[in-house]
Symmetry: D2
Subunit: 400 residues, 4 copies
């Protein structure tokens, strides 16, 4: 029988929702660190898919190290310009030849990065506002991992750790959704809102402060009055979004560093602070669940850009969150579930060394009531571990 080492225990402390102070942060799509995460993962998906298409399996690669060097810009109402381009260096390893088939890893990476930037950053002219460079070393042939053969579950090649939780707290829901919806429906209708949106949520007792720094796009802002309207619009929208996730008292702050008298406002030409002074790199921002949650255990692992077939840290970080969500959806009575997975070198990755769930139940439910159900659900999810790989390659799972 497969040994997944699942254990379910009551959590020792208070639920995050009950702690006095809770801090949650999300660096949005256009934050320089997130740009790097996004490119690293886009490059990874493109490489994985190319390997599948050409040789039928994913070969060794790792592209988790994009570096962004900020540019210089002169934003101006009605439309400014980038003075010195952003410089983006895609770094990593990739297998460039396999049994006679060549894989143009660097051109694939450049194309994936360009496509990603063009799809997500309408105000950024790739090639003039940003230079994309690449240095992909040759991946070691020894590390080539077979993927896609029937029934195979890869072996863990490292001791690595993943941690996830569900459900999100109210503050987490607010922070995550505020950014996603600002960068989704809201900016569709309001092109003056750029992609670099940073959201911090701070809950003290039952008061939640949501602080948003949102880059305005100068071509869509004709003057200071219009800028103030943009800020007011964001504030109102954020308030509405927050209200969907909590009944607590919410205060929204937008672009608090602005000083209208000094003319210091958050105006950009490209929609991202990368145009002026803010560098970025992979793995410095959001964790795999899209949030930075100092009240929760977090993994240091940079998930974006890693090979989803054999990088156990990537897989376990995504998987632990997925399992936690799925178990909470399936099993009634869970107030908070945290799942920790620790790999066992040399064992199949669906057989972790530790699969450790801690539970806080809802009133009237005890851990004993549901622990078997939870354990069974975890076990079942673990059995489908290779689904994670497939979904990552298909771009269905966000890594940041």
């Amino acid at each position: 029988m497969t040994n997944r080492n699942v254990s379910v225990q009551p959590a020792a402390g208070r639920a995050v929702e009950d702690q006095e102070v809770e801090i949650v942060e999300r660096k949005g799509l256009g934050h320089p660190d997130s740009i790097c995460d996004g490119i690293a993962e886009a490059v990874s998906q493109a490489l994985a898919q190319t390997y599948l298409d050409r040789v039928g399996k994913v070969l060794h690669y790792n592209t988790d190290e994009t570096q962004l060097v900020a540019g210089n810009a002169a934003p101006a109402f009605g439309g400014g310009e980038v003075q010195e381009p952003i410089y983006l260096l895609i770094v990593g390893r990739a297998t460039k030849e396999y049994e006679g088939t060549k894989i143009p890893a660097e051109t694939i990476a450049l194309e994936a990065a360009r496509d990603y930037l063009q799809a997500n950053f309408p105000h950024l002219d790739v090639g003039t506002d940003v230079i994309v460079d690449v240095r992909l070393g040759e991946g070691s042939g020894d590390l080539q991992t077979v993927f896609g053969e029937e029934g195979t579950v890869p072996m863990a090649n490292d001791t690595s750790y993943g941690v996830g939780h569900a459900p999100l707290s109210e503050t987490e829901e607010i922070v995550l959704n505020v950014e996603r919806r600002l960068n989704g429906e809201y900016s569709d209708d309001n092109p003056a809102v750029g992609q670099d949106i940073k959201v911090m949520g701070k809950r003290e007792g039952d008061r939640i402060d949501v602080t948003v720094a949102a880059a305005a796009v100068d071509a869509h802002v004709d003057g200071l009055d219009e800028y103030r309207e943009v800020v007011a619009g964001v504030r109102e929208f954020v308030g509405e979004v927050a209200g969907e996730y909590t009944d607590r008292e919410v205060t929204v702050h937008v672009n608090t560093a602005d000083d209208y008298d000094d003319g210091a406002i958050y105006l950009t030409t490209t929609g991202t602070s990368a145009e002026q002074g803010d560098d970025g790199s992979v793995g410095r921002g959001n964790r795999a669940n899209g949030l930075i949650t100092p009240n929760r255990p977090m993994s240091m692992e940079a998930t974006s850009g890693k090979n989803p077939v054999n990088h156990i840290g990537k897989i376990y970080n995504l998987l632990s969150t997925e399992i936690a969500q799925s178990v909470v959806a399936e099993v009634d009575g869970i107030r908070q579930l945290q799942l920790r997975l620790l790999s066992q070198i040399g064992s199949p990755i669906d057989e972790p060394h530790v699969a450790d769930a801690t539970l806080i139940t809802e009133d009237g439910v005890s851990v004993a009531d549901i622990e078997d159900e939870v354990a069974a659900a975890i076990d079942e999810e673990l059995a489908n571990v290779t689904d994670i790989t497939r979904r990552v390659i298909d771009g269905e799972l966000s890594t940041f």
Copy 2:
């Protein structure tokens, strides 16, 4: 009166030392991520000191983004060679002119990086085994912060978060000291041991596994037998060091990925895996206390390379650890103390918005017995916040 918002409460959960599974990791001096941390911090110190020397105060800069692109090497018993050099790109911002005084930020950065590499990596030839490049943009004049004026405590310019704890658990002590002493006294006598040493400690109940991956330096290893002796020597030394910090059962594993039959061993020419395929960047490895501790709350903040005058995230991460250590040393009866500091934008940094200590006391001591003493000690330490800045510039505090 100065309001430091210090609160002291009992911790909700179990002490880390009492948890069933504890994982601790340290990426040693020569790990690619640590090389980047070390260079970023060395550059930061050199810039800060230059600003002090030339204009009497630290000006705006931020150099927390070094990127390392791995090389290619052909290690061989008796001495191999680097085939393709490592590429190191120092990234950041720095003020290059202030009231007519020019600051050669890029040459300072290059010199600091070279000095750091030469001081710490005896087997790495700077200029041939590794290329050091630099891209430091112009720091914004608006952000220039006065430092060194009498009696001034800087204002927090961001909402940022730091967390520290004391004392270290046994496993933490072992992991930290094993790496430091291997890279200290041991390698002084054993030049065959390179700088790239990764240590993972895993405690399950009262059994501790210490897993060490230590790069051997080929010029000091004549053949496989000698390599095995190197590994055996490390294993013995690690066992001894571990024994100084615990009475628990310790098992030591060294270079477990070796396969002598296949000739797969951890042999390097330069003492670091950066020579062959392992990229690195700042803030991806150890936290400010030198460890990765998934059982503890951690900050995502990359501490190395940041400006120690005005970067509140850097200051609070270092400070929270310093205060925790100092309080534990001063006040009797503390089993575990965790301190969380949260800044208040626009307030002096010695007046955090939250200074939240959670305590687990030793048997026979209650939190109530010592909470005033703890609060007073924290308050006193906070009052000396600018000491942290000075010690960072002087290189007295490690950031990774």
Copy 3:
């Protein structure tokens, strides 16, 4: 009266057309050196025009140093791919701020390079097949030269030298026109012919050998037979073109390094050998008149990318050719005219230190018959020296 120091003398040797051996070469549009020349000049034009538009005069800049690092490609009948991208580094100096007006020199350069590549290289995907990077230092403010003020002729700031001749010899005409028309009308109808076309003409007595190396574009060539047809087509066309310029016996050689048995043919994916192993830089190929002519005096000056307002070497090389052509067109009886211009530091550029014409006249005409007419024509052309600057900025004059 303006002193232009014009002298007209008989040439000492034989006309080039009468020499026993004549060698002429042209590196076509897609040769790596010409790509660099073309980009350097496109960047120069874009900068000059931007300065005119924004501050009403051309400021100091110099962009005569583009470096191309070849890529790696895997061409294949029907369509191959670039494995490792070409890397293009635009190097130079430019004024980035002038009396409060900012000039985004680097983004202008990137845009000009991209536009140039896209306009001229239909098979090259800018951004994936080629990375364009830029390093433009700050131009010295001291060197800012006023341009466009009424009636101003700039002063020569260097001792520099230009040399031109007219008319072209038959071999020169053939070499120049073969490349231009292959890269013009012929490739419009024959997309299988790429832009990298190198033409060498060698005349021995009355026999002319025209050797063409023309890159074929794999997407338009389905197999070896089709490739042979492409080669045959080029050979036929070149023979026809050559016949328009000479009655001498012409032999055409195309892609002589091909070895069909070995499968060694000149097949490319992008139409240029830069995709595979051939690096390039500015000023290494054609002289300002589009040719390399070892039988004639040549200037070493790299013309492309230099500032057409104040770079006397650029101006005199273009001007000497222009004047020679114009004089030959105006004055009857000239068989060969060579004009050498040498600047005088500190004098207006229309007053050269030496303006030295050597003449070979047609039968029945003596130098004495026409020397006054020639001198007057030269004098008049020199008076309009600033026209050259304007025409260069407008892109009317080719520099390579």
Copy 4:
């Protein structure tokens, strides 16, 4: 019998020494273009020697494309500093593996560049004042040329052209020796004289103007008076050197762009203008004989950095000069000899397609008197063509 196609004819025009205006230029050791030439050739020598040492023959490589991007410096009497480093990119191709033997081409290149810079530029701190980067692609295996096998003369793989002459004219001797001796004996005793020395000689009839631009080194110049002494010293020395080569009237100009009233002087920190605004690249300066001579036919070929085994352009340019010098030394009565070599694709390189000598004889000697002797001497020298290769690898022949 070997067919070397040697022809000897009278020159058609006047000897350069008799022409009315003669211009000669030399870019000294520390000129940015010469720095690139020097590094390219040093890298070439190091690679060639490594191939000989490791595999017994020189493999395919070509390193003729170093690009220098100027830095920024703030020179100051008594010692200034480099603000932004010079960036040097070594570009080319090299064989990195041959029958199982690996060749660390990039680290060899970096080491050669560093050694060259340290040996020749005492005021330049390699690693801080200048960053040396490298991009050497993989050389094509197909182009691997056998070298060093007994009795082998390589085949020409291209139609290429070389031209040389002897003896040097007086102006040429002066220009060449002024720079060499300033950068030799004179700077040994006068460390205030930097390596970037540009010399232009202009002879009009019997008056020779020697214009020297010599960078002063700030650490060795305490003030303006001392600077004036440095300039005066150079002027005196140049006058003396010139007097050794001519009886004509010589006027020496040193640093004519200086303006003491404005404080505009040629002061540097590193001894080269590369520190501030002057970019450079290979093949843009001196021809293979060390001079730029617009009065003579010149080859456009960049000699430095090319493979001395199989690059026929490099070999013929060096060889034509060597042969001309040697013939002039052996055969009495030659006033001016120019030798042009044109290769024949597919023939051994000692059998050129054209070996064309033009002679001007001394009074009382006719071409007919010595043409057989000259032809025989040329033939003999051609027979020893492979000596050139060996001497280039050994660094005995300068290429710029």
